[in-house]
Amino acid sequence: MSKKIVQIPLGSQHISLLEPVKFKFSCENEKIIDVDSDVGFVHRGIERACTTKFKYDKIAYVVARVCGLCAITHSLTYTMSAESLLEGEVSMKAKYLRVLMVELDRIHSHMLCLSHVSENAGYEALFMQIMGDREPIMNLQEKISGNRVQFDYIDIGGVNRDISLSVEDDIKVSLKELRGKIEDLINEFENNYTLSLRFKGIGALSLKEAQEFNALGPIARAAGLVTDVRSESNDLPYSEIGFKIVTSSGGDIYARNMVRLHEILNSITMCENIVSGIPEGEIKTKFKGKPNGEALFRLEAPRGELMYYVKGSSKPMLDRLRIKTPTFASIPAFVEIFKGQEYANAPAILASFDPCMSCTAK
């Protein structure tokens, strides 16, 4: 067969793509040789609005709308960077409650990604099953914060709502049930041919490439790169609640699924530890002053490292707010993974990245 280069577009509206993103694949016969991406469909201009429209104490609600899936991580990272420029101390209880919400959010985000991966493998039943198993977590989030997706739970000084005893019991019960289900899922993802053999060796990223292209989050950890911001900062009490870094090797879709599944198990352990040991204290403390100076904060979102840069000069409006989102930084790594793969695998590989375009474009 002669070599012929074909351009195949994917997106911006496509059945297997939840996100408005356009990829243009240059394919040589069936093989992808180059990828061009257009990620600007969701650009709204949040960074500018945060410095011209909203005061510093409202920004936590605005940046939560950068991304619905990691909303809590966005508002938490912003809040913590703003708090480091103000005078005051967050109580230990508020810190524990913040971590609890972040980890619950990570569980449901990873489960959503896994359900997408199984849907793209042609396993519709498992998609439905994981989406069904995810509902108790959504329910817990609603019980704690009052809403299923956009929590608006974190504010400067602490958290907005206290947790009641009955909710703590609910969390224990639901997480215990979920643990059993995730263990079954691990078995399924390891042994089912549709999910394991189909995905082994596909969309692989080597450790060297991961370092060269600065891959982040589960993609990097699946390639064997030991990086997790949760152990790179001591502002949140991660070391006290049993956090472990989950890594794998191989860097293919199968390894990414495994990393996500084991991270869910680790998050469940952490949530259980938090619920059984929430310290006493206030949920909100007063912070004084206006943000002055520069602060840079990183936090591990479900998709990788999230960074906020805040600059203020003692005014209610900030001078600059910079958001670096995980998907945005990983796009060069995505492009590298696509090269050399079969076009037929493109949707499955894309789903395994768990891309978030609303994060990317802001």
């Binding site: 500018r48 997790d228 790179e232 602060a295």
Partner: protein, 118 residues
Amino acid sequence: MKINKIEVTLQNVVEKITKFYDPTTTHFLTLNGVAIDETKTEIQWIFADYMKLNDNTVFYVVVDQEDVVPSIVEVIPSAIMSQREVVDMFGIEVQNSAKGLYLDEDSLQKPLSGGCTL
């Protein structure tokens, strides 16, 4: 988190970053711009170490609107996206970086630069 700020110039920034950057221990976070006044902009290259507590390194340089910022894609391939973003947001030229990552022709141009008012 702690920030180590290192001042550089437009001429030696690529050299300094090449010397500093080791892909096995450090990763590049982002290229950031901060508008200082109507014409001056501070450009920052932000790095962080893997598995080290609170360690961020920031190289910074203050540039004018007409200056051309050198590209570091040769050293760090993943910088391409944030370079294109800075071109769009601040209207500052970066070597080998095209316009139009986010903004269309009829939307507000260089929205984050100091001279931009609605």
